[in-house]
């Protein structure tokens, strides 16, 4: 039960969908219905009017990920699905951390912030707000270092991701979901 399944890992999907009422509901409903374990989901507009972009992180094995991809394609409003897990990609999370920092420890906190290349975006007499962008690990690292000072409030956006290649997203999905690469082995 508690054993670590080596086949399970984080899968990062980028989903382009029509920007219409109810589309997010359809995506969320799909995860609930198929019992996919969702770690984060972010949504935003894109440079294309009428198209929104989601970054979805799930935990599961490769078969689960492929099924999820195929099920996402079944949603009529979903235009394109890309699994970035095995591709060179930039994955970033943003966090705002309000940490207790009175005059005595403020210098230490600022130093830690600096080491992590985070930015202080607000300073008050008792506390300051740190903004950090980076991988999940990096953010987790900063949180652990700041914890002893007292974290008053924390918010994270969830991952956003993009492939490193210069290729544009195909305007017609090539439906890798329909093919079957991994079973060839």
């Amino acid at each position: 039960m508690n054993g670590h399944d080596p086949l399970r890992r984080r899968h990062v999907f980028v989903v382009h969908a029509e920007d219409r009422p109810g589309v997010l509901d359809r995506v969320a409903s799909l995860f609930r219905r198929r019992s996919y374990n969702i770690e984060s989901l972010t949504v935003g507009r894109t440079d294309q009017p009428g198209v929104s972009r989601m970054t979805i992180v799930i935990e599961g094995d490769d078969t689960t990920a492929r099924l999820m991809e195929a099920n996402l394609y079944k949603l009529v409003n979903v235009l394109h699905v890309e699994n970035l897990t095995y591709k060179p990609a930039v994955v970033r999370d943003l966090a705002l951390i309000k940490v207790k920092a009175t005059a005595e420890v403020r210098a230490q906190v600022l130093q830690v912030t600096d080491v992590f290349r985070a930015r202080v975006v607000d300073i008050g007499p008792e506390a300051l707000i740190v903004e950090i962008t980076g991988t999940e690990d990096k953010i987790q690292g900063l949180i652990e270092v700041l914890e002893p000072y007292g974290i008053l409030e924390l918010v994270r956006t969830g991952a956003v991701a993009m492939t490193r290649s210069a290729e544009e997203v195909a305007d017609r999905p090539d439906f890798i979901a329909a093919r079957f690469p991994e079973s060839a082995a």
């Binding site: 509901d25 394609y73 979901a177």
Partner: protein, 570 residues
């Protein structure tokens, strides 16, 4: 030409080739019903909206065309939900049109307001809320297109009352519908065909598992050609029955929980399964971890999300089944596979007789008698709609469907109450066909109100109620797995003969096998709906049975000496 939204609805529906719709009026759909009087579309007034959805489903399955049901907002629409879920699970093309409260009232908890697109989201292939008159044409066209293309399914279009009363320019175009995110036209790549063909050519003990996709893709002759060319015995899922000629020497019959023992045994011994338009439902596989342990698997399926969902497969061919098989067939070598066919024949023994002749000669009427006799009397040519439970499994075992789209049954959802309305829908789709309902006494009572619709429509169908005084399948599970503690399964029924007569229909009662044939004569010679109350043996069970989650070849057999089961690799 300016038309009202209500008129536009019927302009589109009639252009989509729909001649009959099933529905129930109400406040939010009143404008559409008012306009309906001016269109040559026959409206069947149901007695409950669930019946409308099932009728549209039955209409769709019998004809292959989209079935249409109509309901008002709120309770009208929520009553459709079971029918939509049923159509969704069995991939039946249905378009549901529902009225919605006027746009300014949405979100205000107005009278008869329900978030219908929200409620039906998980049980439809897609759904829409239309608030503007000018959106009705494109939305309804998309709805019909989505419902019938790819893996078919139900699509709901919720139209606000003000969109129905508003005016818009009506223009019709025959341009194909273009949806950027919807790709129903997937095709496998050639390398996958090669791999599939290599597996088939190399197999020694292959088996075809043919499902609903064979029927929906009209691929029967391609499947027969595959079976004959490569000498592959063919088994069918419940929804695949009718997709392969039952008297063909390579036809083994149904697989799964109540499938033929020799089929399940053959699946467990096979070295290759060729799955055609089926989805490895748990009622078909039994215990997944021991399912077909020695077999490689080829899965031909239109829905990519079905591949590797339940059973890990070696080659997946995604696309329309008939097109897939047409490409695959030339790649196959002609084979004999004499040993494998002889082995299966050995399993099969005198299977064609089954255990019907072994039933005790105690003067009691058994369901197997009734269904076997219906099959003989109709030559396997009737359209048979069944409900869910024991009678459904017996019908699957004993009614030999000679052609596709003649078995209409609730496979995935297992919806009691489906048979009567589905048969009615099928009758409207195929007016010349002989249509039979086979239902249990329990399920029949769930939608028996539609008898009144039969009378109003002067519908000519025959209804066989398999009346054993129990919710039979649940009783059977209680007998096998709950120590015969019959909790809530004995069921009282009205006098079905009088019930039929109260509706102005013909009613008959049959209590012995000797009278079965006579009841057919009476039913088939009567113009109109006939209800026949068959009083069958009360505690009969369906055999063989793979208990839920068991290994597929560990079946419970009829507890009496029976040469058929003994030959099936005991």
């Amino acid at each position: 030409m300016k038309l009202s939204g209500a008129q536009i609805i019927w302009e589109v529906v009639s252009r989509e080739g729909v001649d009959t719709i099933f529905g129930y009026p109400g406040g939010a759909i009143l404008p559409a019903y008012d306009a309906l009087l001016d269109y040559p579309i026959h409206h069947v007034l149901v007695r409950h909206e669930q019946g409308a959805a099932h009728m549209a489903d039955g209409y769709a399955r019998a004809s292959g065309n989209v079935g249409v049901c109509v309901a008002t907002s709120g309770p009208g629409a929520t009553n459709l939900v079971t029918g939509l879920a049923n159509a969704h699970m069995d991939s039946s093309p249905v378009v549901a049109i529902t009225g919605q409260v006027a746009t300014p009232l949405i979100g205000k908890d107005a009278f008869q307001e329900t978030d219908v697109t929200g409620v039906t989201l998980p049980v439809t292939k897609h759904n829409y809320l239309v608030t503007r008159t000018e959106d009705i044409v494109p939305t309804l066209r998309e709805a019909f297109y989505i419902a019938r293309s790819g893996r078919p399914g139900p699509v709901l279009v919720d139209i606000t009352k003000d969109a129905q009363t508003g005016q818009a320019e009506f223009e019709w175009s025959d341009e194909p519908v273009s949806l950027p995110g919807y790709r129903p036209d997937l095709r496998p790549v050639s390398e996958e065909f090669r791999r599939a063909a290599d597996l088939i050519n190399a197999a020694e003990r292959p088996l075809i598992l043919a499902g609903h996709g064979v029927i929906m893709s009209a691929a029967t002759s391609q499947v027969v050609e595959l079976a004959e060319k490569a000498s592959v015995p063919t088994s069918l899922t419940l929804l695949g029955l009718g997709g392969f000629p039952p008297r063909h020497p390579l036809c083994l019959g149904m697989m799964g929980m109540h499938g033929e023992a020799w089929v399940n045994t053959a699946i467990q011994r096979a070295d290759l399964l060729i799955a055609l338009g089926m989805r490895f439902d748990d009622r078909v596989t039994g215990n997944l971890s021991t399912y077909a342990p020695t077999a490689k698997k080829i899965h031909c399926e239109i829905d990519p999300a079905e591949l590797n969902k339940n059973v890990r497969v070696d080659v997946g061919l995604v696309g329309d089944l008939r097109a897939t098989l047409e490409t695959l067939l030339p790649l196959l070598a002609k084979s004999e596979r004499t040993d494998w066919l002889r082995y299966i024949d050995g399993l099969k023994g005198d299977s064609a007789v089954r255990d019907i002749q072994k039933l005790p000669d105690d003067g009691h009427l058994y369901t197997a008698h009734v269904i076997n006799d219906v099959c003989r009397a109709t030559g396997g040519q009737a359209v048979v709609a069944t409900d869910v439970g024991q009678h459904q499994m017996w019908a699957a075992q004993y009614y030999k469907h000679e052609s596709p789209r003649t078995l209409i049954t609730s496979g995935g959802l297992g919806t009691m109450g489906f048979a009567l309305p589905a048969a009615m829908g099928a009758k409207f789709a195929r007016k010349d066909a002989e249509v039979w309902v086979i239902a249990g006494d329990g399920g029949f009572q769930m939608t028996a109100a539609e008898l009144s619709t039969c009378a109003q429509e002067n519908l000519n169908i025959n209804i066989a109620i398999i009346n054993n005084g129990y919710l039979g399948m649940v009783r059977q599970w209680q007998e096998f797995f709950y120590d015969r503690r019959y909790s809530a399964t004995p069921i009282h029924s009205p006098d079905f003969v009088k019930l039929a007569e109260a509706h102005g229909l013909r009613g008959l009662r049959v209590e012995s096998r000797a009278d079965v044939e006579e009841s057919f004569e009476a039913a088939r010679n009567h113009e109109g709906t006939v209800v026949i109350d068959y009083r069958v043996e009360q505690e009969d069970s369906v055999y063989p049975m793979v208990p839920s989650g068991n290994d597929l070849d560990k079946m419970i057999r009829r507890p009496q000496s029976n040469p058929i089961y003994e030959t099936a690799d005991d």
